[in-house]
Symmetry: D2
Subunit: 433 residues, 4 copies
């Protein structure tokens, strides 16, 4: 990596790109990027041009010797890269709209990363990611693939099981919680220790120590809560939260209070459309801003987008891998022997020490009994869905759908599966050969 790093960002036309560019500029001293390749598909050509030009203006403003390349040629971008990151959406927001709409129409949670919607996203996305991995295996076998593409846990597990690419899954929720705690207690992130148990979008925070003081009981008691922008802020039941003894991911609301969440979804649907439709509007506005040739920095409005801290997470991780920093980050990696009830190759979200050779998962000091059932149930769904995504086997897809805790019965599973596969036909060649 002598002369500086080559980074390839797949889905480089995304509205998130200015974040990651800002990250590279800020951390240049520790992470000397030489070439930044933003790559997208034909359908994203226009967005790539807009956001790519902004990226170039941002770099120019910084005065740093980073070359920004815009391309539709994925292989050129990947060749010899040190890091590849992915932030793409197969089927675009249109597909997400149906992921949310169709379950809702059958009285089921409609959500981008979990439930029947998340499953469809996995079926669409996994084959594309594995295809990218084939390129990396050939053109940049030493590269680290940092995967942000949701459902990040499933995609990362698929990659580690079906390719030889060194891959790590990333989510902004852990870093978001740290930021929130840092503000709340007015301490730097380094003074906060948290322990995560579970899967991507399905974790329990079992330890929260701020400057060595255990703050978990207080946090469970006060019901203040950290939540992402993309999940409604329905309040947790106080008695339940206290007896749970761990801070649940805000995504767990879909599992613990599906009745209230569904109600909220149906109401929102009536008012402003699905979350996909809301996001679509935000994105349009962002690209409007990006087009301004005088804009030379990441606009503040990007933080409304829901994916805050994603790029910070990514740049942190690259920096630690590059510098053998050995700090602790919460990542999505293979379970190994961490959780004794999951297979070694199951992807989990867990604290890791990041060495130059990759992340080493730290042992978890406490696994709440009550988390095990849900973790295993969702992991079972995930493994079946991953295999269905790879094989295009409809019987497996049915088993996956049935296994999902948010799908109430075999009857509903069959209806959803038929309708959703059909609607996603264009993105699921493996099922319609």
């Amino acid at each position: 990596m002598g002369k500086g790093l080559k980074i390839a960002v797949i889905g480089g036309g995304s509205s998130y790109t200015p974040e990651i560019v800002e990250g590279f500029i800020k951390r240049y001293e520790h992470l000397p990027v030489r070439e930044l390749w933003l790559v997208d598909i034909e359908a994203g050509r226009h967005k790539l041009a807009i956001v790519g030009e902004l990226a170039k203006r941002m770099v120019a403003e910084s005065g740093l010797p980073i070359e920004v390349h815009l391309t539709l040629d994925r292989r050129a971008a990947i060749e010899g890269a040190d890091f590849v990151s992915t932030q793409m959406r197969v089927g675009l927001l249109e597909a997400r709209k149906w992921d949310e709409h169709i379950p809702n129409a059958h009285g089921v949670i409609g959500q981008e990363t979990t439930g029947p919607g998340g499953m469809m996203k996995a079926l669409r996305t996994i084959p594309v990611l594995l295809d990218i991995c084939r390129d990396i295996e050939e053109l940049a076998p030493q590269a680290w693939l940092l995967n942000f593409t949701n459902p990040a846990g499933m995609v990362t597990e698929a990659i580690s099981r079906y390719s030889s690419v060194k891959s790590i899954g990333l989510c902004n929720a852990p870093i978001g919680l740290h930021k929130w705690l840092g503000t709340k207690y007015d301490v730097p992130s380094s003074k906060i220790y948290t322990e995560f148990v579970g899967l991507n979008h399905l974790h329990w925070v079992t330890r929260i120590e701020v400057e060595g003081v255990n703050r978990l009981p207080e946090l469970l008691d006060k019901r203040e809560e950290y939540s992402g922008k993309n999940v409604p802020a329905t309040e947790w039941d106080h008695e339940f939260l206290q007896s749970l003894g761990a801070l649940p991911s805000y995504y767990l609301k879909y599992f613990y209070m599906p009745d209230a969440m569904l109600e909220e979804q149906l109401e929102a649907l009536g008012k402003s459309g699905t979350r996909a439709e809301v996001v679509k509007k935000v994105e349009d506005e962002l690209f409007q801003l990006y087009s301004d040739p005088n804009l030379r920095e990441k606009p503040k409005q990007l933080e409304q987008r829901g994916g805050a801290y994603y790029s910070e997470a990514a740049v942190n991780l690259m920096e630690s891998l590059y510098n053998d920093k050995r700090d602790i980050q919460t990542l999505n990696v293979a379970n190994g022997r961490t959780l004794d009830f999951l297979p070694a190759d199951a992807c989990i979200e867990v604290n890791c020490v990041v060495t130059a050779d990759g992340p080493l998962a730290l042992p978890v000091t406490r696994v709440p009994e009550q988390a095990k059932g849900l973790i295993q149930a969702v992991k079972t769904y995930e493994r079946l869905a991953i295999e269905a995504a790879v094989t295009g086997d409809r019987a497996l897809a049915l088993q996956a759908m049935v296994a999902h805790p948010l799908v109430p019965s075999v009857r509903v599973a069959k209806v959803l599966l038929d309708e959703m596969l059909e609607k996603n036909k264009a993105y699921l060649p493996q099922f319609f050969a």
Copy 2:
């Protein structure tokens, strides 16, 4: 055991007693019972007298030197016993009625052994069983406790975790399936090999070989099914069953098709009352029959009762333990290292070789991926509920209720828990100290 065996049957006034008496008579040659103690509580005095006299008449008719003792003194019955079996119902059918009624009233499955109803039964029963175990530890530490009391898996796990008594849980479903297969294929049971994976009332039959021929595909294809009397015979979805690749326990209908099962329950409720109320009627009729001083054998009508083969299962097990028979029986025992995703002390339903020293669990050759999630989810509920039963900790009880896959949300769990604990107050001193 030189001079013949002493057997204590706790809940000896049960309508099932003639079955077990018949079993002892038939197997006398291999299982020489010297003393049979039928013990019940004060509330069961009348039923004990009736069924006890029938037992005496049955033994007299056989001409065998078996002494039948009827008593309300549990300690006398247990003292020096070789085998203790339990078949009791804390709270009687009245409590079962509410186990079924209350969940139904909130749109949830109401069932004796699973769901919120099964949980209440566990909370009522476990402390009583542990109390019996205290007596066995003191008065018959070498005795085997054969536990039929439902929820048999949870009760057996509670005993093995909270007492030193050697205990085995028994269910009639495995033997029932063998009988059904034997009739269907016209072969003796010894020619049939089945493999069970899962928990009590939550198993998948993953191998069915009849005279060495794999009959599982055919059985999954034809949709003929084996079902217990106490579970409605709603038909499995054919496509689902085939993709499942294993024959599910009929209890799994509550998990895979709760919508149809609930509908059936609500309909039945309107017509004939809960299952508890139906059973009450059958029992009344049975005791009517038992009272006939001319009756000297088990009446045919007992087979309608739902617990067919229970006594055959019990006598088989005693015989194998007594004779170091080393045959294979499907039992509820500690997991050990059988299922790699469950703790060693979790009770599972599994094929065992029965030696004089107790059952040795056979390794399972295939665990369907899709079974893991449900097994772990239910086991999580079970472990939390067992601990709640022992401690009377309401917070744990809430977590258990929330963890149950048939309980749709925290909100519903709280409502059910409050209402059901209150209704069971008389039988739950640990929660109302």
Copy 3:
């Protein structure tokens, strides 16, 4: 298997063959052999002819419709076979002589199945067995391979790791112990229950129950002992044996008292030569007997040969596999999850229930702490030696030799390895490519 079974015996010219022929005759009712193929290599043509004719006379005498085929065409023998058994000796007794001689010359135990000698035997044998497996994979993929070829545990592990053949390793020591106990206590074998923990030729018998009575303390106290013909009957230290709390395999004398055993070997060497040389004489005498055209049965003298009960073990196993007998036999199979300190694919010697689908290893109820170290040490050697046998990697061979507990130092290991590889050059093409 409708019309009777086809059996292929590789190394059919062995002096043991009359044993297995007798076994097939005696068990014909339960194990209907139609074709028995005795196959050997060119160097064994003469012995095959002699013992093969005896086999034909024995079958003729029995009047059973078993066809005996003698051939040097291994593929013809294997094609369509139901069972293949192997009883061969790569390098013949000449190679065994050096396995014993060379270590002795350096003050190390010289033994056929363990120590440096056993390692050489493994290096010679494993490639030949894997070659046979290639034929079975192609010509009889459903066949069971019953492997008697020593070191049986290592060979079986090599097969299960490097081929898809269904293979089981067999040793006569467990059945020999049962025979000895049966005679001692005057009971049939079915009344005896023993539990074996460990590896082939490295086991501890941790339970011995005769008619339900624990006889282990008495057996450890009296110092009576069961020993094979091929291991000197040096007496165990009484205090040690009692504190061990389990009956050690007589092969364990090499590990627990190498000083006395080595002394015994050096003494025997002076008097009658190595064990190989003794065996050579016995074999010559046996073939003299076999040549007698009037001999129509297995001669008594064969029992002196050291491999008593081998054929009984084999026929027992075939019978149980064929009839789904589900009895308990002590076999060499993959560990699975039986011993928690060994990998799943490590071959162990363990009680199994033999079903039509193969053996299922029973859990062990007690593993003596003191056995673990030796088991792991020897298994480590075995795994390294297996890999060396397959790859011909001399560095691995050195690590294997060093890892063996009977090899005292790296210095001695190097000397032994150099000398022994050279002497075995003709049989180790993988090391001399």
Copy 4:
């Protein structure tokens, strides 16, 4: 810990004390020690006075507000301590002399921490340490016990299995290797990453990365070696080392080349007496120096003593625990799920992230196959010896001695055990009750 820390050093009269005092002075800013209690037994009163006064002079010279207390009252020293460290020698150097002499007399390695000598040290030391733990449990239950007392792995395991004290075992070998590598490659320790696999004094270094470059092949090739002062610098066999693929602890020479090491010991014995006798002389000289009232700093000669870096290791660890530093240190802690072939409560030497809540063991990325046998063999010995130390059970002690890979046979084990127990009688009340 608001007003500064209280530290208790058991065996405070040791010649090592000036090292740790120097450490506290240097790190005062990060580890604010308020009270340093040096405690010793009556027999060490004189040495405590000498070294204690030196400690006071060193602190005075520094000008820091650290109080130094000298006492024979262990309970006063422990009460309310934040950290307790132990550096004692039950039986003094006299006992060590016999640990070395007696085995040598029987042709066996005589060594302070391994072999029969190490076992005797464990039998003497463990009961004393457990007695100290009783005091800590009562008087300072939140304290961390840092255990340097050899055999450090066994003592730490005994504490974690038989007390509730939070304890960590420490050795100077890992830090010594880092120092050696730092000098060799001229880089700070933070640029070096090593991975240790194994037990205390029985580890393999499987990764050595200096500034991100893998230096292991080069280090194995050049045969340069890092060795402690207390182990003879006999050279590794080059071919062996390369095929091993990991850098072995210098203590492993006793296992891999016992012949050469024994020869070296016998030769040294003839010349300068046992290592114990050499150390005795060094110590006498050190105390001579310490007595000088003008000495106000740690004398250079202490580094010859063999325990270099011990105090640096201790102060590093205290600092990381106190400040939740989360750096990586190589420590002796419970295995948990790190090595899959050892029990969870077995003490291993492994890289840990040190948090305020204690060390978290990092997963190991590679376990050399050849290390497993030796690790398990020695751990087996250790577990038996620990149990013997606690119970005084002579049968267990015999099994422990037999299980040790350096003890050649049961016969020798018995002779050694008898002779050594007798010689240690004064320090082994548990065996002579």
